[in-house]
Symmetry: C2
Subunit: 411 residues, 2 copies
């Protein structure tokens, strides 16, 4: 006997998957392999009716499902959910618009599209009483968007930050654990398939910036456009900094961070940070992601797991497919208000300690910064950690000085 008793009206959820790459094929595979468990959670059977891809997959066990013309999906009333794993803007945006306008919910892992045009696409979804969901666009298999919007709905969120990019975290971990140089660590990441042949979007922080924007949109309810988010990558993290930071028992992580400022503006930025051993994310290593949410009611909550990969990301996509069936008609749609520069706060107003390596000796550093924690010095100057101050004050004290490295410290 089942404890859940009888269900609501039975219906099959017909899904179309657009883009048969890593994530898309993972979704098709998981829907097949874990069909029963998924059906139990969804309350309905979920089946893939079409797979849209420009390429041919004649040897695929799903060969019969492939189509090349989006109109086939767009015009099939049986298809209620479209999975967009094409990536990028362009055609992904066009197909998403048309699918939503055709009254189909769209689920995606496309962080570029969501961070750039999520607000517009959510508006179209709302107008057609369907869902646009993107749990897979942040944190891969780590449930984060849904817990923020649903489980923490009663919580007023003050801050959200995290290690959002597995490639850069793998590189930084390798530099700290094995003393690898940045170039060597990047090379190994590429060999292992953790970094793409063109890793720039990861290395320069663009990927982290996009995810930071999506987290901010959902946590604070206003649209934070990537162009307003100051972004610094990890290409300049040097073996010398790694050595100095290690002596302090700390680590360097690429962090995407958003804080609600006292004046109500929202300060968002992406940059390498020095994390002390007290920080919840200091032990998040390799390709793993970790995200910390600080709210007025729940305090600090942390989410940790595989931030990328075929099956973890596919799991998040499927969670959203199930969610579409539960959300439609309730009016409880995900969404946030459009916003421009006026809501953007200045991260330089945030206080913290700072890791600095600059062309001066400890005496001069002490004269300028007062009490400092000395970490070490070399021919290029001294490395030290300051007391707590704003980024503006820190910059003032470094005026006329050749500062090689300046990283914010997160305790």
């Amino acid at each position: 006997m089942r404890c859940r008793g009888h269900k609501g009206m039975i219906q099959m959820i017909n899904v179309a998957v657009m883009g048969y790459g890593t994530v898309g094929s993972g979704v098709v595979e998981l829907l097949h392999v874990n069909h029963d468990r998924i059906a139990r959670s969804a309350g309905d059977s979920v089946r893939v009716k079409y797979i849209l891809d420009v390429r041919d997959f004649e040897d695929s066990p799903y060969a019969g499902l492939f189509v090349k013309d989006f109109a086939v999906i767009e015009n099939d009333p049986e298809v209620s959910v479209v999975v967009e794993t094409i990536g990028g803007v362009g055609v992904a945006q066009e197909f998403t618009r048309r699918a939503l306008a055709a009254g189909k919910s769209v689920v995606t892992s496309n962080k570029e599209l969501v961070s750039e045009h999520g607000c517009e696409l959510l508006k179209i979804a709302g107008e057609h009483n369907v869902c646009y969901l993107f749990e897979a666009s942040v944190g891969g298999g780590v449930p984060i968007l849904h817990p923020i919007s649903a489980c923490l709905a009663a919580d007023d969120i003050d801050e959200i930050y995290g290690i959002l990019n597995g490639t850069t975290n793998y590189i930084l971990t390798n530099m700290f654990k094995n003393g690898a140089t940045f170039d060597k660590a990047l090379g190994e990441a590429q060999e292992k398939g953790y970094a793409e042949r063109d890793p720039s979007a990861d290395i320069n922080g663009v990927d982290t910036c996009r995810k930071t924007c999506i987290l901010a949109d959902i946590a604070f309810g206003r649209n934070i456009a990537p162009k307003y988010v100051r972004t610094e990558g990890i290409a300049n993290v040097s073996a010398i900094d790694v050595e100095h930071v290690s002596t302090a028992g700390a680590s360097i992580k690429l962090i995407g961070r958003t804080v609600r400022m006292p004046d109500g503006t929202i300060a968002s930025y992406t940059a390498p940070h020095v994390l002390t051993s007290e920080n919840l994310l200091v032990n998040v290593e390799g390709v793993f992601n970790g995200i910390v949410v600080r709210g007025d009611a729940t305090g600090e909550t942390m989410f940790y797991g595989k931030g990328a990969g075929k099956l973890p990301t596919a799991t998040a996509v499927i969670a959203d497919i199930i969610e579409t069936g539960k959300t439609i008609g309730t009016g409880a749609f995900l969404g946030w208000s459009e916003a421009g520069e006026e809501v953007i706060g200045d991260p330089d107003l945030l206080e913290s300690r700072w890791y600095i390596r600059a062309n001066m000796d400890f005496d001069e550093a002490a004269v300028r910064f007062g009490q400092i924690t000395m970490l070490g010095c070399d021919e290029n100057g001294a490395a030290f950690i300051t007391g707590s101050m704003t980024g503006i004050r820190c910059a003032e004290l470094l005026e006329d000085i050749e500062a090689i490295t300046v990283y914010r410290v997160l305790e």
Copy 2:
């Protein structure tokens, strides 16, 4: 302009809160303070129409809402959700049955009732097409039941374990950090209000056992009754063990753990474990909770946060109130199959290393266990960590020996 466009039909969600204790009053308070944010997530305004309590609260700002007769709530068709924060079985079970039978969803933080009678109450809920939800019963403010059932729905879960009781974790942390004895640590926990005057349900592991059962029910879809879950508390954790374990850079945590066995049975148990520095939960300290889920698709996912407290727990209750509005009518009800002893697996078949303190010297330990890691010895004997073996094998090797402490090691 709002991005979410227009909503589904508008309706007010009328809630009745039963039991105006710590959690119940927190729910009323949060629904008031964060009303707008909650309404945005729910898609509807949520208001408290009644508060049921045997006591009088004439000075409360909500004095006008109090009632003493459950029938008032039961017979008011406007009330769609009832929050049960009475606790225990007895009247809480009766009111829950009647509320569900009256077509009202019930949301609770009552782990005793859910672990003992959740299966029956979910059945009643299903028969009346309403929800019985209990996110707040495990992990307090940590979103865990919802992520497992929704976000990880596509994942076949192999194992779930965690630090589920803040009181015992506070005591153990205090013993490790400050060298406090168990009695001293317990006394301080009571002074700080982290432990109740009668802390037995926490100390003897019953609270952790109940939460372990609820996690197992949801993760594996079968009803695991507390009576089948072997439970050992922390009352016997000694300063000597703390000292020996510390020398290994490890820690002792009270863990509730459930593993899917190769034969399909489900092995559930609660006991103190030695966690090595590699374990994700080793740094979960004080009153915090941490839960690890291991699935075939997502790999390891970890959830961390405040496991108890007025507002964190209230946040989880409110998340469920919102969830009821989304779930009804979709057939996607939470639930698991009834099950008896036949699905219960034997934890002693699980392999691991073991921490042992027994009345023997290292030479004898090495003879019996082969390669061991020596931690130290005292007048009562030697403390060491064995290689990997089943609990059955470990017990065989300890036959005829006076073993003082035997804890499983989690890497």
